[in-house]
Symmetry: C2
Subunit: 328 residues, 2 copies
Amino acid sequence: MTTIQDVAKQAGVGAATVSRVLSGKGYVKQETRERVTRAIEALNYTPNEMARNLFHGKSGIVAVIIPELSHPFFSELVNAFEVSLCEVGYQTMVCNTFYEKNYELRYLEMLRRQRVDGIIFGAHTSLASEQYQSLQRPVVGLDRKLAETVPYVAADHEEGGRLAAEELIRSGCRNVVQFGEVEDSVITPSSQRHFVFRKVVEAHGITCASYPKQPNYSAYNTYQESAARLFEEHPDVDGIFGTDLYAAACLQYALAHGIRVPEDVKIVAYDGTYITKFLHPEMTTICQPIRQLANEAVRMITEMINVNEIKENKVILPISIRRGNTTT
Amino acid sequence: MTTIQDVAKQAGVGAATVSRVLSGKGYVKQETRERVTRAIEALNYTPNEMARNLFHGKSGIVAVIIPELSHPFFSELVNAFEVSLCEVGYQTMVCNTFYEKNYELRYLEMLRRQRVDGIIFGAHTSLASEQYQSLQRPVVGLDRKLAETVPYVAADHEEGGRLAAEELIRSGCRNVVQFGEVEDSVITPSSQRHFVFRKVVEAHGITCASYPKQPNYSAYNTYQESAARLFEEHPDVDGIFGTDLYAAACLQYALAHGIRVPEDVKIVAYDGTYITKFLHPEMTTICQPIRQLANEAVRMITEMINVNEIKENKVILPISIRRGNTTT
DNA sequence: TTGAAAGCGCTAACAT
DNA sequence: ATGTTAGCGCTTTCAA
């Protein structure tokens, strides 16, 4: 590889002059500039990023940590992150945790090793909050309340739960089922929706059962199995609320078993990834503001990287409903 | 940030000794080792990856370049890459090109800048093959024949086209339509399937029309619009062949318009991403061997990084059909 | 068994 | 306007 020294020698100047030409900062006589430029081209020189990184003490990379990239929600999310980060001059490193704790630790370590300048943590996490608290470095939680000191951005999941509930109420449901535990998780703001959903429907005298969400995405069949179990155990169900894939699996089961949607059972999906647009009937969905989530998180992380502190420690973004034909 | 010098001072030894303890190479007296270890812990020291990278002349990162991460095929692909690369000790950088030429150039530049040790190029590319040829560095094409000298890995798309054709023939179709041009692209092996598909069905006296694929994914509606156009312009169509999303959109249109699947029209999808498993009726699909594609490409790129050359310059992987209920 | 020093390739301060 | 030099933090000879 050719270095800046090679170029300097070739052009008969010092390395600093080449650096000045490259960066455009500082005074360089027009003639020298041309000589340097020619040398650069002659040698086909490109500056070494690693050396620059070392000097500047930053890698220009932000890691985005998620459970599993192949999950449609996370792939749309990381896509949005790549766009946002690119706009502010950062490169994106993707990291799957596959729901494993030691992966999370390993990725946190990257930050300490200065391999990345910041981390956006969208993974289902199980680490003690001290582990985040301790590292005083740029970390932003995405839909994750990692520790008191770690800022996060999330959609307004309470509103999301309410919107879903109201939609099913309006459609006249009496026995609804949702996929997701109603536990008031401290870490994951998104679990709030289940709490609110149940509260709102029950306030209308509607029966509400909960099915556990499988933590693991890659085993596709879990969705279909969960759907089958739901219909078998709740033959009287007339309203379903779950993330896109649960909703899709339930719709699929219903159609395959002569259960009419929306006549016999109404479905409201959550997340709003593209799959909901390819189904028939079209799926009524609560849509997470994926781009805005990414934009806000990127704004926060760059702020933390640059000034090493941040004013607000929490950003909640509005959520909306897109009506399809799985509700009435 | 605490450096190796700080640790050395704290332990009362030289930096080299600390380095030896860290790497486990070279002789260190047991007692010194303990002293160093204690100093490391006391200072909560972590080695700086950027300095290491500079010294070793490698970043430990491989870039995966794709048109758009949110497309289900590419998200499953990059997911598989992340897994494979992780296994061999590399980190994954994702790069969306959004079908833009200057993005491709920019990413190629990263390789020259030694920001990444290798590039896996899965993007729809439009650069002149010299641009790849010229850089004598680790590049592997994924489903892309970038230049004579650039090795690539691809699924056996000819077989894929044949399988799809035979499935529709077997199902008794007489008028089929495929999404994708029958141009014998030099760059993209996957376009081979359209050529073979047409050849095989026409050999059976079946009419075969082609619809152009929209290059751009993010505009969701293009799929629905294409599907609508197809059915309007070809009311007699009884067999459709297209990538998962085209297939899904056609199924959706058919169901919405009282066209029965598979009675009136048969559909075969191509790629086999998860969406095909969530539809009703279940989609008959030609499945790309996504994991194997990633494994092979990673094997090739690591070989190129390590020995800077590679024996085979082309790997074609077998492809298979998964029968659902959109064919008979 | 250990330390000093050179150097990876770059940039910025300081001279000139 | 330009060159020299001192690092950035690490690893690896080379001496001791």
